[in-house]
């Protein structure tokens, strides 16, 4: 019902990034980097830029084997990635991550079919909050990751390389796809990379700001938030409401009907602000 201009822009951006991370090598001839802080799968041969996840899973092995040049290049990639994370926080999730795009497509299809979304049960939320850190630990220790990672089953197949088929992974993928269909961006709730980047959200350049006095507590922001960030709805006093789970999808700002109640700033410069554009 609202004009979703910001979401349209974001999805376009996400689409371009997805095309690049999936088939970029076809155009550019080689992978540009392997240090993206997103789930761009290393098992997609045509990928233009792959995620840091593969490097991280093998990091502990590299450390143990101690090969000098390999270690140096790995450390370099991690450094590049860390700078990217510190600058933008979870903005990567909303604008670059190809697996995020996959989930968004599922939600778009659901909306088109007018199938209602499922609310995340309150009892499940604390479990998920712990789960993502356990996943991060597994990722850093290289336990089971690429073997069971759902992204590895989905992205290569979507890119046109359907060779790695394992039953356990396939089942997991099916379940995850179904959950993501009903719950927008479910995977982002338990994403290990996301939890890592969330730490940088407190200091990254982009901030979500709220003018508490202008808020009518109409709950629209929270109802639209894929990450169920309650802070944005309840907060009155704090100006900066950037939460560590926030993926900067800007749906709250887009949906908020009170002029200037919510805004997005980069280095204190207002980039987006909520408007009473109801048409």
């Amino acid at each position: 019902m609202n004009k979703r201009k910001i979401t349209a822009f974001r999805l376009m951006f996400l689409l371009i990034c997805t095309v690049f991370t999936t088939w970029g090598a076809v155009f550019s001839g080689r992978q540009i980097t392997s240090a993206l802080p997103v789930f761009s799968c290393a098992y997609v041969p045509s990928s233009g830029a792959i995620g840091i996840c593969k490097t991280l899973t093998t990091f502990s092995l590299t450390l143990v084997s101690g090969a000098g040049t390999a270690l140096l290049s790995v450390l370099g990639a991690i450094l590049v990635c860390a700078v990217g994370i510190l600058l933008f926080g979870r903005l990567w999730c909303g604008y670059v991550c190809p697996f995020g795009f996959y989930q968004e497509i599922l939600s778009i299809v659901r909306r088109k079919l007018r199938i209602p979304g499922v609310q995340m049960p309150e009892t499940l939320k604390p479990v998920l909050r712990v789960t993502k850190w356990i996943f991060l630990l597994f990722l850093l220790l290289g336990i089971g990751f690429c073997n069971l990672c759902p992204v590895r089953f989905i992205m290569p197949a979507l890119a046109g390389y359907g060779s790695q088929v394992e039953l356990a992974g396939l089942v997991l993928t099916g379940i995850l796809t179904a959950v993501c269909f009903f719950r927008e961006r479910f995977f982002c709730w338990i994403c290990p990379m996301g939890s890592l980047m969330g730490l940088a959200n407190k200091k990254s350049l982009g901030r979500i700001k709220k003018e508490g006095s202008a808020c009518t507590h109409c709950r629209v922001c929270l109802e639209h938030c894929p990450m169920d960030i309650e802070l944005i709805y309840t907060e009155r006093e704090l100006k900066d409401v950037t939460h560590s789970d926030c993926i900067f999808c800007m749906k709250c700002i887009e949906a908020c009907p009170e002029p200037d109640a919510l805004s997005f700033t980069i280095l204190n410069k207002k980039i987006l602000t909520s408007k009473r554009d109801l048409r």
């Binding site: 019902m1 609202n2 659901r110 909306r111 007018r114 199938i115 209602p116 979304g117 609310q119 309150e122 508490g212 006095s213 202008a214 808020c215 009518t216 507590h217 109409c218 709950r219 629209v220 109802e223 639209h224 309650e230 009155r236 949906a255 009907p257 009473r276 109801l278 048409r279």
Partner: protein, 418 residues
């Protein structure tokens, strides 16, 4: 003999109803700055309260602002706000509800018992939110005249209570379905959400125009226009408010800045419902300008849009629960903070210089909050006047004197502060 006398009495009441409504309409038409675009709205009020016209449509009555109009339209019925502002109905209602209850509930009961107003007669059933005590109790009284569905209103606004509200609304859909034998149509629901949204856009625009310096439209006119939404369809209403807004925009470009700046007053709290427009009419006849109001039959009636995340019926129900309950600033909810923030924000946006705190005699919830709003006014260094009244015209002169003094004080303050 008895029935003849009864008929005679009822005829007298009918005359009284039309006379009081007619006088209010004449007052509205007498305000300087009449535009032909306004006639449409006066026509709606005239048809409903003076000509007593049958519309051939079936209504579902509602109280307060918590029952989503969109739901009722999606069932193919028209919503009718039963909250009434008629002094004749209020005095008639005293036979059925306590005399010290607020006039709004008395008038609503009165209209049902009188059986004079066709729109009330055309009500198929009533959905009554359990808000304040008077309204809760009155549900049983109204149940004598028509089937009543009670809608739970949770006092708090936590996540858990919100989820309960969503469930309540889902249950309400089932109840209406059971009573009417009709199914809720998603197609209609989406369509009517769009038209209500359109009406909201125009209402926002109208209030922006009202808040302008020496606005081309008066507060009493705007409040009556907003009231008329309850007796019209959103599409046609929005269409006519758009025409009115377009006209007002042109007028304010050419005529704005003419004359001395009027004292700017914000009308807070208890509802002003046609034909009880005495407070805004009096205020503006004394040279003040109402810059906005947050009453539930005018300024708040179409505030806060429903913004569904998906257009499934369940998705829209969530958005409606958020819009009609979470955002509601009715004093029956437990947290006062929301209301105070909302008033403060509206005072800022409308650049008001003073507050009239309207209390309907017998309405405890609104009266309770006076102290908090007074503190806010103190903080903002803004004069506030509490006016307690009912629908009768008896206290007109006393109120006039108090309002006169208030307006004078505002002008004096302006002189002192430049």
């Amino acid at each position: 003999m008895n029935t003849e006398m009864n008929n005679h009495t009822m005829e007298r009441y009918r005359r009284s109803v039309t006379r009081v409504s007619g006088r209010a309409l004449a007052d509205l038409r007498g305000i300087s700055g009449q535009y032909p675009e306004l006639d449409y709205f006066w026509g709606i009020l005239e048809d409903t309260f003076v000509k007593l016209e049958q519309t051939g449509e079936e209504y579902i009555g509602t109280y307060c602002t918590m029952v989503p109009d969109e739901l009722i339209y999606a069932f193919g019925y028209r919503p009718l706000r039963l909250c009434a502002g008629h002094s004749t109905a209020a005095s008639f209602g005293e036979q059925f509800v306590p005399r010290d209850v607020c006039p709004l509930v008395k008038a609503c009961t009165g209209f049902h018992a009188m059986r004079i107003l066709p729109v009330y007669e055309q009500c198929r059933l009533a959905v009554l939110p359990m808000t304040c005590d008077a309204k809760k109790e009155s549900a049983s009284v109204l149940a004598r005249y028509l089937p009543v569905i009670r809608m739970e209103v949770h006092a708090g606004k936590t996540g858990e209570q919100f989820e309960q509200t969503v469930e309540d609304l889902t249950g309400l859909v089932k109840s209406i379905s059971m009573y009417t034998g009709k199914k809720l149509s998603n197609r209609l629901l989406v369509k009517v959400c769009r038209s209500v949204r359109e009406a909201q856009n125009e209402a926002y625009r109208l209030y922006d125009l009202l808040a302008k310096e020496n606005s081309a439209v008066s507060g009493a006119q705007v409040i009556a226009v907003m009231n008329s939404f309850c007796y019209d369809r959103p599409e046609t209403w929005a269409e006519h408010v758009r025409m009115l807004n377009d006209k007002l925009e042109k007028v304010s470009i050419t005529e704005n800045g003419k004359g001395r700046a009027k004292p700017r007053i914000f009308l807070a709290r208890a509802p002003v419902i046609f034909p009880n427009l005495k407070l805004p009419l009096l205020l503006e006849s004394l040279g003040a300008q109402i810059t906005g109001d947050e009453t539930c039959m005018a300024g708040r009636l179409l505030y806060d849009p429903a913004v569904p995340d998906d257009l499934s019926t369940a998705g829209i129900l969530r958005a409606l629960a958020a819009r009609y309950v979470s955002a509601c600033t009715c004093p029956v909810f437990d947290q006062m903070e929301d209301r105070i923030y909302s008033i403060a924000e509206k005072l800022r946006v409308t650049r008001a210089e003073g507050i009239i705190y309207h209390v309907l005699r017998g309405c405890m919830p609104y009266d309770y909050e006076y102290h908090a709003v007074e503190q806010l006014a103190d903080k903002l260094n803004m004069p506030i006047l509490r006016v307690e009244t009912d629908y009768s015209a008896e206290d007109m002169e006393q109120i006039r004197i108090r309002l006169e003094a208030f307006c004078e004080m505002l002008e004096e303050r302006r002189r002192q502060h430049g």
